[in-house]
Assembly symmetry: C2
Homo-oligomer: 267 residues x 2
């Protein structure tokens, strides 16, 4: 196949809510696409889709959607697959590469690339202050594809490590009870005063933020659009004269090598 | 202070490298700013700064830079503080809220907000495939502000949890040896075949990607512009007829509740 005939797959993140959180790179990749595949709800959020072939599908069809995109690209089309947030974080990117690995050898020669985006925990953290200011982890609470015992073990080790913990997919209609079990496990391994936030629909018009503590949190407040941030014992809450308090996790932990107020800055 | 006189602070992430990875929200916040504060290197990357007062400072002056921004805002100015990547991940956001907490009570009434961005691990993961496709953590290897013993404990627990591990700030001139100690600790807790990637200057013209394994990695290849992704034992490498292999971590772990190829998708 000459490069003139070659198709492509771009796996895009739309950011967690607002179109304002789309990067230029994602917008350009979307503009170039002839076919756009994704969960119906995500397609409905896209700007400027005129002239493109849309392939909406139900949530949960990740692997077949990925196969479909690869087949279209193998036939010479330019394809975008859209995820919410960042496609590499519990989104479509892993499904696409799983489909590549399981598919025909020719698919390994395809032009497939992932375009990063703002994942839900970064958007939620920004609205809350800076709760991810020290080491942290992200755990997908769904046991659809992994055993619940593994999730509980990860929660326990993450709490023991002192990580701030971002919980994705905390609950759905099919799994209303697990978030309660998760909080029980966290409470056995972290002090009750650790700040907790439920961030729902961040960046959208119906955004809701609830600040509480590990001891007082009601896990029933989580639904499938909620990202939960479980602060560490070091996470601090700054009260304000009006408006929502800020949460942040200090960069400093007693015992660091440098005494002054300086640190390497990451990029 | 009336709202007409009120200043503001916006803590922005520029994305890891290319201006293409800036979100619209970050660009608009930058456009509105009268003063822009940041590490010299980040200021040099910014588009369209005409008419703004620039305050470049050295890396490591985070807390004094944050105090300065708050003082300017308290005097009525609109201020942007810039970080690379996402400001909430080992960037300026935690320093700003630390400065608020330590500063005069009046600063708690200021209009301070964080604008999220694409952090280095998401950009690196996108270039590599989908290594963050299952649960993962981010650890800042610098012991400037926390004890090395805590970092080693976190590495050990993260490896035991089966997290894919993103290592920020793996090495600098002042700390050339710690990344070796970190790999030693990881090798005690994870199989040598686990894929490892060194992602240097992702999104910039001098980007370099090195794919190796935990057993064969040479930690001396890391510098202060490197993000290291340590795959789990489940992370897979897909060889290609030409070009760099892809890494991805499957969403599936044996024992999940749903047998078919479906999963909740996160946003």
């Amino acid at each position: 196949m000459s490069s003139a005939d070659a198709g492509s797959v771009r796996v895009l993140g739309l950011g967690p809510g607002s179109v304002e959180q789309l990067t230029d790179e994602a917008r350009h990749a979307l503009e170039r696409a002839e076919h756009v595949l994704g969960y119906h709800t995500y397609l409905a959020r896209l700007p400027a889709l005129e002239g493109k072939v849309l392939h909406g599908s139900d949530n949960g069809d990740e692997l077949s959607r990925a196969h479909h995109a690869l087949e279209l690209a193998a036939a010479g089309a330019h394809v975008a697959i859209v995820s919410g947030g960042d496609p590499g974080v519990f989104g479509m990117a892993a499904a696409v590469f799983e489909a590549v690995e399981r598919g025909p050898a020719a698919h390994r020669a395809l032009d497939v690339a992932v375009v990063p985006g703002v994942t839900a925990m970064l958007a939620a953290a920004a609205r809350l202050g800076a709760p991810l200011g020290n080491d942290f982890c992200a755990i997908n609470l769904s046991d659809n594809l992994k055993p619940w015992s593994l999730i509980e073990r990860r929660l326990e080790l993450a709490a023991q490590a002192g990580f701030v913990i971002a919980l994705y997919n905390p609950a759905s209609r099919a799994r209303p009870g697990q978030v309660h079990a998760a909080f029980e496990r966290l409470r056995q391994n972290r002090a009750p005063y650790a700040p907790v936030a439920f961030a729902k629909a961040v960046g959208r018009t119906d955004e809701e933020l609830e600040l509480t503590t590990l001891g007082e949190a009601d896990p029933a407040h989580a639904d499938m659009r909620t990202l939960i941030v479980v602060g560490s014992e070091a996470t601090r809450r700054i009260e304000r004269p009006s408006g929502q308090p800020w949460l942040y996790t200090p960069r400093r932990v007693d015992g660091g090598r440098v005494d002054e107020d300086r640190a390497d800055e990451a990029s």
